[in-house]
Assembly symmetry: D3
Homo-oligomer: 248 residues x 6
């Protein structure tokens, strides 16, 4: 199968990190294709940038999803997840969604770990969107990352260990979700150092996308995830307008 | 004061309806300026179109909010509300947000009335976003509206009355929110015909925007509604990029 | 319009403070009339005193609301709000209700600031009554106020600033509600000193009462806020019994 | 022990019904003393009347609780429960509170049965106040009762059976609470006719009041149920003012 | 009446402690019969041991409940409560269930006090099972108890006082539940030393079991607490299989 | 890898059905080993039988999990899931847990489909246990299945289609979970006939167990899913006692 990994951030190095981890965990016959956003912020960090990223994720999917069997959103806000789920005929998985669902199979409550404090309310809202508030032990966060740390996040392993331990002790977290595409690949290094399972949404997302594609679920024809009806879309890319034109 | 009314739908007739109602209810010194989207669907009806509309609302605000004192989002999904709240220094009000908050002052539980069934889960999610689930008695809906009815919604008054009565009897609704910018101005005709107050978010939105502007609340400098930090935005309009450039 | 401001506390100096602030924020044509309780505690501080104040608020409304166009409850427990909403044909707004609803338009979660710890559970119950638990970041409190501080609350500005900052840092509050009629008028002084918007329910309450009166919502004829049916009330004031006698 | 049964309705026949049932279920050494309200409505049926009844319950307790060992509120809205719990040194139990708590030991979800529809939202709010929403299967209701039926509620046994069966079948109720002091004593007749346990709050309330008195719990000295502090109360009965005067 | 007190722990000394307290608080005509588990852990401390204890509680009830009028589960996880409620024709009460329900009549929010941290999530889940999350102020815990302390828990009174005070101050607990059958009988010593009521589920459980037996509620014939239907049970005790064989 | 499929029902034909479906969906290198309960009911249908099945699942795991890499619970109540998760060093997945989590990636709200009405509250409680109430649209049910239908469930495809359509139309279900191990393998036949995705927990459970094993999460050493501490277990199987003896 062919898995399109969409990074709606405009930082190509994030895509590279993510694609490397995706390839590492994918089963043998899965081809990983990564694309990077061309609209918006280098690293999405607030609601405005998330709104641009959401739109960009849709445009990227319109442009690149033609021959893929599933889509993974490689952005910790899962920007564009629900729109894409209704728009595309193939399964779409968000990295944080899949990480949270997996965390639920590994412990009673999970915490998220991020950097900076600004995004904490956004992760809390994401948890609410997924209806998982009862499983959520709150988000702990590192100081904002430097450009250097963003590009080489293994530098922050000790700080991550400390925050994860704080989540366990103070918040009763029984598993932890790495909230950040840049953290892809760190769970291996972390897992021997902390007392609870650490979940990285890229690895779980690849596996869940594979599962959904393999089990061949039908896209719904009823409800809010059914495909939209044909409309005349103005001002979007030709590819996107064309995709909409082909709808019933 | 100057109130920018943003309709991120691409239908100018909706803007006209909305602006007329806004002018009718505004207090003496409020100037109403309406703008219409140029990207996306004529009438937003699903998650994908809402995602485009959200981005478009931000672009419209970047383009037109320079000398306004407040913004009203004239779209029943309040597309772009939270991003704009962090991005702009002036108050931003969503029509459904203000209608729901007002409905809470008029009865114990409110229902929403819309057309078509597809948007029902989206309104439910909007209610959840606003943390008002405990006040929500569910959404009732008319059949999808014809082009004729969209342009002349007073045609559907009898059907609206019937649905509102159903919300009262079956769901215990004690007030009702009209979910649809096209319904602007109908509450006057409806109110004598149904047993509970009917709230139209354009009229309440204008008044609440006036209140927020008059009371001169400061934009927060902490939390998720503080202004974003300066970043290099790619692929957006020059006006939007410039606005972002001016941030601290 | 004529706005009746009911203070069911038996302290006239609170009414004076409140009326002054109400007059300051009211739009030009609004006349403010203040009345003070004659039954109960000087400053309501517990459930028993709130129960007396609730009854007293109703008696005050029965006595004074004849020619008013709206009512504002100038007591931070909104004592009597729901009863008055069903009893009177004009809109009734509670100062804390309007402050909380406004706070929801200014940030994601709000905290309340009060004095003493005894009332904290009562404010939490009030938040629950309004169905706003999902927007509530908890209440912070100053030590109990001295008579001097109650009469001149600007003395406690530094302590308020400290508590508000604590709410922002420790609880993630993105806006703050002043819980106390005695705080009326302090938000102006506070707002430049703290990082999030500060909401005083007297100013928002006046504006919301004006809005509800202007938009001329009908009192419901169904549900729990419809007017009561005529009954023979014993042991209440003649004015109240007469009001009840006029019901259908 | 001596149990004061307070009926804040102004209908003496309700007190008689309630006292008879209380005496039937009390253990040997419990003396039952009933008092009837002299302020408010014959049968409390809306928020306004409930507010009066709440104040009246406190006045009745101030007047009559001197030598009692516990108090039972014989009104299905438990009017005055929390104020009395903080004001009196002896245990206070609400008939609906005790019925709901008992219903939780008899089935997974309980429904309430009342008459008329107006009080349904009030019972729902009472359930919320007690934090039992997760155990609540909704309220079913008979048509409003005639004077005759109020005085001889065994007339409505067939209608009650029908509504209870509806609660079981349509709402999944596994136990049922009789919401109405006038229903005292009916559970015996009902229980053989319906498929789930029927709980009458007078019988459970008497037993729970006996239990609380026997186990000699201390009144808290912290929190919102601690006794109020001494204050000068205006406009209340001498007995009530005196009780307040004796506080610390 | 005859009350069977089931301790599914395999420690006879716990049964002795519990039975002594049960006899102390029971009314005159109640005979207390205690039984101890023969399968599982000495003191249940985790999910696995709770699962064994749940099965053991059922086997003990099958073996010993023949001529009893009610059952009290003397284990703080209430292991087996819901199964026994459907299986037996007599009332079944859990010690923590009855303590929590009683705590709700003594304060607005209750905390639990236990030893060790491992069981905290289990108590939280128990609170959720009973639908009491809105009344729950969290669990505080002592260090794990030594064998000596388990057998003579009055040694830990000072530590309990300290934790209870922490629950009051830090969590706003207004009443406290002793979570542990070994704590039976300690509430008397504790109550003068802490500012809120302390509830021990053995004493409340005995009284509530007496109440349910006295009021003669019918076992439901509908819903999930109706008696199971006859089935051929394999691999259980003969007594249990026989009990199941007698079902309809 | 080696996947142990535990059916704690005592019906071998259910194990056969489940194992066949598990083998159909497993990836190439996964060996499926099925075991059947020897204690309890043929088909678990109530709380008592579920309690026995929970204990039996643990005994089966103690007996058969030695050389397996993951465990799948093939019983729709996921009996024993949390105990096994703490007890075993390998991942454990419940069929309904994995189906519900998958359903959350396919639609906004899911319904469950079962047979008989008795288990409906149990599924609702399971949903609550997993913290998924916000994603749950309720359970629809067929009449109780005959022995014939249990062994050949494809007989009930038309009835299932009808109930699923009812869930979509009446409850807004956007995906559906088959609640019953006997339904394993039916989703293929169903999916073309209904408008929303149909999830069978055996297929999703196999894939999720494979994922958890492949990603090599560590068992926690903190929290309520850490391994129990060594204790002397009485009255259990030698194998189980030995497993417990090996704990730290």
């Amino acid at each position: 199968m062919r898995l399109l990994v969409i990074n709606p951030n405009t930082s190509a190095f994030v895509t590279e990190t993510v694609v490397a981890e995706a390839r590492r965990v994918a089963t043998g016959d899965t081809e990983i294709v990564g694309v990077t956003g061309t609209r918006g912020a280098p690293i999405i960090g607030c609601r405005t940038e998330n709104a641009i990223g959401t739109y960009e994720a849709i445009e990227l999917a319109a442009a690149y999803s033609d021959d893929c069997d599933a889509v993974l959103l490689a952005v910790s806000f899962d920007s564009g997840l629900y729109p894409l789920r209704e728009l595309l005929a193939v399964p779409v998985v968000g990295m944080s969604e899949s990480a949270m669902l997996t965390a639920c199979m590994l412990g009673q409550k999970f915490s998220m770990v991020t950097f900076g404090t600004r995004a904490i309310p956004l992760y809390e809202e994401l948890v609410d969107t997924y209806g998982l508030a009862a499983r959520y032990a709150g988000t702990v966060s590192l100081p904002p990352l430097s450009e250097d740390e963003l590009r080489n996040p293994s530098l922050i392993i000790p700080a991550l260990v400390e925050e994860i331990e704080r989540a366990v002790t103070d918040r009763g977290a029984e598993s932890v979700v790495l909230a950040g595409a840049v953290f892809a690949g760190l769970s291996g290094e972390l897992k021997k150092k902390v007392p609870v399972p650490v979940v990285d949404g890229i690895s779980t997302g690849v596996r869940m996308a594979e599962m959904l594609a393999a089990l061949e679920f039908e896209q719904p024809t009823a409800g809010s995830h059914a495909r939209p009806t044909r409309k005349n879309l103005q001002g979007v890319s030709d590819k996107f307008a064309a995709l909409y034109d082909k709808l019933a």
